[in-house]
Symmetry: C2
Subunit: 190 residues, 2 copies
């Protein structure tokens, strides 16, 4: 389970220099925009790591000399928007389908629990080949998992069951605009 | 700023073997109890680390060979309870006062922002010498910071302005019992 996690992060770092900003970097910029403008407080969680060796070369510094990536038990992003708890996982794929191996079973359970407890949870998925980014609500993600036995979600499922996040200059990935329409507009509000 | 962070964690590990469970371990057990019993979904965030060197001894494993602790920009714990966003920082001190150096300015700003956005934020502070653990609401913590110029919070301030969390067998530190009384009981609810 550690392998995909590590690989994803490596890909992101490589692609950052190769072809503009990664989804992670754009989301960090977007969340900074939300924070600075007092719109929402949403942060990316640190990468979960097991530290097995630490050196202290000086009194004011600790250096991790050995550690391992852990499989995340929750999602990467959470926070608060308009009093509501927000929780999501973000992934990008170079493929024309979204491999479910990108999302760990712990994370699926977590996304479900957030809904059960009255929060808002979803996936943000970018298809780099198509340069399109989608917000997929957990309920529609679960619908696919329950109805389909496939190991990946086809692109068309996103076109039909997710919301495309339009690219903007600032904020770059304004996913809260979609959350607004889904949960806070009187006409569509839950 | 990295030094206190690292030291705290080291202290905790040492004290864990010396004198029973640390506050961190008891909170993890408590949050597991809340999760398993479907009471709340509250997790500790991973320790923020900057990874500067990773080796790949085998195709299925990545080993971090160099990394550094970062000063946290948010708190250690957050999640959802009864539809409300919950956010807190937990610290234990061996002293009879609570040194404010335990809480970074970023974290104070974060706790304030959570309130502004309609969430519930607080500190959990344990005085190991007195074997007492308190829940201090952000509003009372801010009150102290605004009114006092001291570099530490005296124990008496907690007696007068915080809520003692009684030790239980399971959950060990039932801080949500206090949150219930403060926010969800009709008589006292906001």
């Amino acid at each position: 389970m550690k392998y995909p996690t590590r690989i994803n992060r490596t890909d992101k770092n490589i692609s950052y220099s190769n072809r503009g900003m990664t989804l992670e970097n754009e989301l960090n910029e977007t969340n900074s925009f939300y924070l600075i403008n007092n719109i929402a407080v949403i942060h990316k969680k640190p990468t979960p790591i097991t530290i097995t060796k630490v050196d202290y070369p000086s009194r004011i510094e600790a250096v991790i000399k050995e550690g391992y990536f852990k499989t995340p038990s929750t999602t990467d992003y959470n926070g608060i928007y308009k009093g509501k708890y927000i929780d999501f996982e973000a992934k990008e794929t170079k493929s024309n389908i979204f491999p479910l191996s990108n999302i760990h079973s712990h994370q699926i359970e977590h996304l479900k629990k957030i809904i059960e407890h009255g929060g808002i949870s979803f996936l943000i998925v970018r298809f780099t080949s198509k340069n399109k980014t989608f917000l997929l609500e957990t309920k529609n993600f679960i619908k696919f998992l329950n109805e389909e036995k496939r190991k990946s979600i086809p692109y068309d499922f996103f076109l039909e069951n997710a919301y495309q996040i339009k690219d903007k200059y600032n904020p770059r990935i304004d996913y809260l605009e979609i959350i607004d329409n889904l949960y806070f507009k009187k006409s569509k509000g839950e």
